[in-house]
């Protein structure tokens, strides 16, 4: 069974075995507005926790998506290059950005669980 964790920068990470799928939360896509462009890293790139993993742009502005975990990029969601609106339609599912093979699982365990993220977002309102 997969587990999901969150960051205070509004990324989500879903862990299946040692592969983490990374995206932005529904709250983040809502804040961003219509996504018109997504820039993804090359497969094989290594990222450290906190590094830029992707770029997401609305009509008005660009934002970086940070990798919450360290490891090697093993897949990117190329569908977003042709249809970036997928991030708005299904941020937590089809709108994922990258898959990273974890170097250190303890980084994942340190992230917020769903309840902690929920209260974090409620605290922002």
């Amino acid at each position: 069974m997969s587990e999901i964790r969150f960051t205070d920068q509004h990324e989500w990470v879903r862990l299946d075995g040692d592969v983490a799928t990374i995206g932005i939360t529904d709250y983040a896509q809502e804040q961003l507005g219509d996504v018109v462009y997504v820039e993804l890293p090359d497969v094989g790139k290594s990222v450290a926790a906190g590094d830029e993993a992707a770029v997401v742009e609305s009509v008005k502005a660009a934002s970086e998506v940070y990798s919450p975990v360290s490891g090697e990029v093993v897949a990117v969601n190329a569908d977003l290059e042709g249809a970036p609106g997928g991030v708005n339609e299904d941020a937590m599912g089809k709108g994922w950005f990258v898959k990273v093979r974890l170097a250190d699982k303890s980084e994942f365990a340190k992230l917020m669980d769903e309840d902690a993220y929920k209260s974090f977002v409620e605290g922002l309102a």
């Binding site: 932005i24 804040q31 961003l32 820039e39 502005a61 660009a62 940070y66």
Partner: protein, 388 residues
């Protein structure tokens, strides 16, 4: 995810509100600080849908944050000559009811602001000009103008009036239901008239590249007018986000980005705003450097820029010639919803300003191919009365 620049809050202290503020909130707008005002950046449909709706039907914009004023004097000629001491436009040549886009210049020829100047059609206003300036500049502009007025001439701020724009191919049809006489107006003309029984000053003008109106309405009737227009099936409220992408597609300048005190009208490709008589008289601020630019050319020029890939290039992006030499910078860059891809404007060295020139945009440390293109990106659909 990093907070997008555009969403980073300016100081939220003492934000002003327009008379339509509560209506924006009730309509589900996302409010952001802009030029000292709490303004709607978008409504529930979002920037993309709002932009496209304006190009297909009609969009209603609250632009009440802009500065409106009368300049009154003993007669039209005195007032027009006064405005001509501050701008390069042919104001004296304005026919009653005509509007002119012009520039407030500093003595170096830099642009202090861009503005609309209207000569009212109404005989009761024969001794006045009506001006609309940018929100962020209005206090400075009004002080600058007031400081240059001769005795017997005064500037009257219209802080008691809101400004509502209705823009798009259906704007005229919709507006005629409330003000039939507005239908026959030519583009860049203005008339005082009742709109749904409300006394307004109606200008056929806009900032979207579409046909439409900008309506100066008393603050206490602004909500009533906005609600009546919004109740029409063709009309949706449009936020500042789409206002920006619409004007960029139309190739129109945003003050503080595409033009400012360091750019002259010739560099900004706004030489057409300098009247023929004004060039001959050479008596506007900065006439010497500006006429020098006209006579011997400029070192850099505002151009349209079309990135070849899909990545938007934002304000501040450096422009290179492809051989490692920096040749300019982007001043407005966005995704163009009607174009269906990224679009930009900026300044490049004159040797690279020709339409079709290949350039490179440095986005996130990577050079990306782009081309110099003619403006606008989207054909303007202003209403022109046919000359017979």
């Amino acid at each position: 995810m990093s907070a997008p620049e555009a969403h980073k809050a300016e100081s939220t202290e003492e934000l002003k509100v327009t008379p339509l503020h509560a209506l924006h909130v009730a309509l589900g707008a996302k409010m952001v600080p802009f030029a000292g005002y709490d303004m709607p950046v978008q409504y529930k449909d979002g920037v993309l849908a709002e932009h496209l709706h304006t190009r297909e039907a009609a969009g209603l914009f609250d632009v009440s944050h802009m500065g409106q004023a009368w300049i009154e004097g003993p007669d039209f000629e005195t007032v027009a000559r006064t405005v001509e001491t501050l701008t390069p436009g042919d104001i004296l040549g304005l026919a009653p009811g005509a509007i002119r886009y012009t520039l407030l210049l500093n003595r170096n020829g830099g642009i202090k602001d861009d503005l609309m100047v209207t000569r009212p059609a109404e005989p009761a206003r024969a001794n006045s000009l009506f001006i609309i300036v940018n929100a962020a500049c209005k206090d400075a502009d009004f002080a600058h103008i007031a400081a240059h007025l001769p005795a017997g001439t005064k500037l009257l701020r219209l802080d008691d009036r809101a400004l509502i724009a209705l823009q798009g191919p259906k704007a005229v049809e919709v507006f005629a239901r409330f003000a039939p006489e507005a239908e026959g107006m030519g583009f860049m003309t203005a008339r005082a008239m009742n709109v749904a029984g409300i006394p307004c000053l109606v200008s056929r003008s806009g900032y979207t590249g579409e046909d439409g109106y900008e309506v100066s309405v008393p603050n206490d009737r602004a909500v009533e007018l906005a609600k009546k227009l919004l109740a029409e099936p063709e009309v949706k409220p449009i936020g500042l986000g789409a206002r920006d992408s619409l004007r960029l597609e139309a190739g129109l300048c945003l003050y503080g980005h595409d033009i400012d005190e360091t750019t002259t009208p010739i560099e900004a490709a706004l030489g057409w705003t300098i009247g023929k008589r004004r060039r001959e008289e050479a008596n506007f601020p900065g006439a010497k450097p500006i006429l020098g630019h006209i006579a011997s050319g400029v070192a850099r020029k505002r151009v349209g820029i079309l990135p070849e890939g899909k990545a938007p290039a934002r304000d501040g992006t450096e422009i290179y010639d492809g051989q490692g030499n920096k040749i300019g910078g982007i001043t407005s860059g966005s995704y163009g919803p009607t174009v269906g891809g990224p679009i930009a404007m900026g300044y490049v060295e004159i040797g690279h300003a020709k339409v079709g020139t290949a350039v490179e945009l440095m986005v996130r440390g990577k050079g990306r191919p782009a081309k110099i293109v003619a403006l606008p990106f989207v054909e303007k659909r202003f209403h022109r009365t046919e000359k017979k």
